[in-house]
Subunit: 351 residues, 4 copies
Amino acid sequence: MKIAVVGLGYWGPNLVRNFLSIDGVEGVVACDTLPRRLENIRKKFPTVETTSSFDDIVWRDDIEGVVVSTPVSTHYPLGMRVLKAGKHLLLEKPMASTTTEAEELLDLAYSKMLTLMVDHTFVYTSAVQKMKELITKGDIGDVLYFDSVRVNLGLFQHDTNVIWDLAPHDISIMDYLIDGKPVAVSCVGVNHFSEYEDVAYVTVHFAEKLIAQFHVNWLSPVKVRKILLGGTKLMVVYDDMEASEKIKVYDRGVDVKGEDAVYKKLVQYRTGDMYSPNIDTGEALARMATEFVDCINTGKPSISDGQAGVNVVKVLEAANISIKAGGRRVDLSYLSKSNSRSLISIPTFSN
Amino acid sequence: MKIAVVGLGYWGPNLVRNFLSIDGVEGVVACDTLPRRLENIRKKFPTVETTSSFDDIVWRDDIEGVVVSTPVSTHYPLGMRVLKAGKHLLLEKPMASTTTEAEELLDLAYSKMLTLMVDHTFVYTSAVQKMKELITKGDIGDVLYFDSVRVNLGLFQHDTNVIWDLAPHDISIMDYLIDGKPVAVSCVGVNHFSEYEDVAYVTVHFAEKLIAQFHVNWLSPVKVRKILLGGTKLMVVYDDMEASEKIKVYDRGVDVKGEDAVYKKLVQYRTGDMYSPNIDTGEALARMATEFVDCINTGKPSISDGQAGVNVVKVLEAANISIKAGGRRVDLSYLSKSNSRSLISIPTFSN
Amino acid sequence: MKIAVVGLGYWGPNLVRNFLSIDGVEGVVACDTLPRRLENIRKKFPTVETTSSFDDIVWRDDIEGVVVSTPVSTHYPLGMRVLKAGKHLLLEKPMASTTTEAEELLDLAYSKMLTLMVDHTFVYTSAVQKMKELITKGDIGDVLYFDSVRVNLGLFQHDTNVIWDLAPHDISIMDYLIDGKPVAVSCVGVNHFSEYEDVAYVTVHFAEKLIAQFHVNWLSPVKVRKILLGGTKLMVVYDDMEASEKIKVYDRGVDVKGEDAVYKKLVQYRTGDMYSPNIDTGEALARMATEFVDCINTGKPSISDGQAGVNVVKVLEAANISIKAGGRRVDLSYLSKSNSRSLISIPTFSN
Amino acid sequence: MKIAVVGLGYWGPNLVRNFLSIDGVEGVVACDTLPRRLENIRKKFPTVETTSSFDDIVWRDDIEGVVVSTPVSTHYPLGMRVLKAGKHLLLEKPMASTTTEAEELLDLAYSKMLTLMVDHTFVYTSAVQKMKELITKGDIGDVLYFDSVRVNLGLFQHDTNVIWDLAPHDISIMDYLIDGKPVAVSCVGVNHFSEYEDVAYVTVHFAEKLIAQFHVNWLSPVKVRKILLGGTKLMVVYDDMEASEKIKVYDRGVDVKGEDAVYKKLVQYRTGDMYSPNIDTGEALARMATEFVDCINTGKPSISDGQAGVNVVKVLEAANISIKAGGRRVDLSYLSKSNSRSLISIPTFSN
């Protein structure tokens, strides 16, 4: 099997490197329109074939899977061509610019029985895997809230806001970990220096008694990557800036005794031990790449499949609508394919 | 001058202790309806006079100032009686249950030329004073955002939500530090165990390009008290859980060159030194108590005066309305006295 | 039973307060030669009887136990009088200025069957108790090393060095935790500003393959109180400056397979989970005071008895000899009563 | 100019990579006796010439500088051959196994006017450069102590102890930063699992009132790399595990007023601000490699020259002698070339 990597900017070379070292991948073909980038790849990875023609990639018979690591606005057109050509597709996150586009990609992949994956790298980290395990085994109990902070100084994007830049990581983690049903999104923020917001707070509302919030910020003097996950049985702090002890699991919570317990002041706090599972620090990207090859070979579903990609895009799109509407709650059902036209008629909220 | 302290629950005894040691305070009279609490005060502070009669406090001629440290629902009736009796008034935070009540107290104090203060203790800390100094001197430049996190495990209140319990501290700090004009509030959250929310995010929108957010949470396994303040020139992290180095000032930010700078990618990051000013750890409550006595004696305005109290209550009340309306943006002007009736007609937001 | 507290400087009032609240203690008598201190005690604790006469304390029949919290040079003469008067004795740490004095106190208490305790407060903390439990249950395996750092800025003492000021805490913890047999002490350090050392490193050598080191320093810009305890099965970090998570237990270590394993490179690292037991933060001093009363009542041995006091003084005295001898190793057996004369003949080490 | 790198184990490939990217270096020749390592280099760096013959390296005319990154026991013989062949020499740290060897290398380089450098990488970090700047400008005042901790779990070496493995880094930093004259070394430690010590404390005594200590440990559950540097004017904490804020400078210290100030209790503590200079995180190894090329070209002295190498080896050798002698103080003058024979007669210290 040969894999093509399209788009060799910041992230593409990492994808090339990872696919090169996967057993079963016979060759990697790298594609970009900039000759400088192709040359750079040839220098670093002499065995990689390069081309500046996307058509080449699409029509060559020996390429089974295509990885698209180009700007998000091109994911849909490029991805559709890949799928139409009958090739398996891995899209860089976020999957597409709109829910409609993402869902079309998903439908096409489904109808053609092709693997469609999105590079939600973080769900392949040992830290997130550990959290998933705690949730799946029931150790955490019911999830009460998911709070994420991803802030740092820059890097300002000039074609998108801080939400589309930073939030996909944490939204994909939330989507992976939490079984609840997101029903609406609200989002507030400010654009200080351009039309694009640089500080934002995205909230996901659920059908269940559960809330998720994402603080993303390009203007923070310190770099923070932290998730707080509260459950009825255990609570977890995931601090990605820690060299070790990234995950801390607290045997803490609230026990409510009886139906009317709170009114009767029968809320009791549990304050037990904390433990920090030892987690390996292998490269998540390597695991993601391996999963793409496995899914192609076996047809098995991926933990970051097209549906996961759609879920993330839906929240991002809703956040964009909400922030322009002053934080108004945007129902996610409006963003589904059949309903998507109705978005046009949503009036701008004026207070 | 004698000072009366009414309400001797958790916080009252601290007020008694602090007023006892202020020069110029000749005596402290402590008042509560529970005999056990009065006895406790007499044991700890043998020189303090005690009474179970609030009428006593109001009508005694030798008491010049009254400190009301009772449940918030009683602040308005008790405070009005104190002011009507011509005595100076210090209210525990939050100042009142509604903006209307708070404004009536403020108006009465104003018309009777009495000192009206609210115990926003945190604005008297050296840390907040240092931040104020940096802002006033112009060192920070324009404030871009104010982000606060105040989370811990419990203590569940059975008559109020986490917003009214934890947010007044940070809202009063924001009100003190930031000169911008708050225009609206939105708030989202969840009540997991009772009718009262235990996790909430309060956002204050400003007329300026500025946003403030407050994360309050009774269900966090770890205790966090942290404020991030971004300015165009400097950025500050205030971590109240640090034993020393509570305040860190970062010479970091964004320089935008030219009108269309961002589009032209002329945004430049500054990443300079950090410094942590040495701040004393004297008791803020002692300074607040001293200021009350000073204000009584001199008529000078306080940094936590009645207007500050009104400002805080307004945000809290708006947050309560917003959270019930699914996060809808609530215009603060609706909460002003003259407009307050109109609140009744605000429909519950249904999505 | 009445308890007398002699010496009301920095620590004495804390002892008074704690003994006052112990069931079974009918009264506390406070003694100091400075009238100001006595007055201070009467003001704070109206029920406490005061006296400026140590003779009073010694000869009164109603006083069963005497707590001596005076400068260390007076522990021996005052302590001997207390014991000779047939009263139980609690000495502030360190127990005495020399091993000889400490041992005489111990012998006298033993022969008169009186309780003799030393206020090694730290061994009563939940953190140290937890470590003791881990060691006693065998969870830690063989102890490999004990490394302690206790540094801060000041407070310079003008009658003793940093070793006698800061090291007793950690030496008493080591003495309590470790079963090994200390055989020698070496110590290096510098006196920058007076005849008394302000930076020092004390090493305790054991008969076993085990080493303990104590870094004490009055010239550190940051306050550190940290102990590293390495065992063959588990390793512990005790950081007393942490608000919570003071104790972290690591399932890490080295497994050596076979007799000649290391030579054959069969050393294997274990890197497992970390856990942080939840420990209560009750006052250790209260527990120590309670134990003194219990020991008086029941005759049971204390975890900080006279022998523990002797052990700590022995290390301190040896450290003082070693530091003057340029770090020379001082055999602890020289400091035993019978051998103590021979110390005189130890030549000053000249390099 | 061509540069040869001899020894392609763990560190060698890093040296190859760095020398490859230096302007003025026309080619890198890599040398090792293991074919597998040579192949590995050819794969990663296709432009690098490889050879298994050290003779080749020594006799080729086009190679000006040779980097020796082999086990320490071979530094002397290989280094002597390089110098005798008239080539410039860069030795991996530590420079040699004994002071005598190191001094012979230094003498030969000196007499042949060749550049001799040792790869003390840490002195090229921005953090250490910043500390040097503070000392050189006089900001720190007189240095009072240097305390270093470098501990982690493993990696056990099977041919040397923890001192020779971990301490060279910190000793070279100390040698670079501190102008005082080291006069003696004492060292204590334990070998738990083999003949080689795995926990050790090295102390360097100075002619001045100044002490340096190095805690090195292969058995620590946590990784610590921390230096505390106390001066009369400022104090510095250098924590290499911090992602940012590696250096913190504290305006803290002790002011002594008058000759007999301490006795008169006139010691005053200064507790001022802390600041953390922003330091770049460029690769120190690249700077070291560049300096080697510069020194070859210009004959300028290096900050990690042969004398620095000798200084470090002297402390290491003395530490080894001291630890075997139970911590006895070893005079550094014994280790000078002329005196080195006398070491043989130093009796094993028995207490």
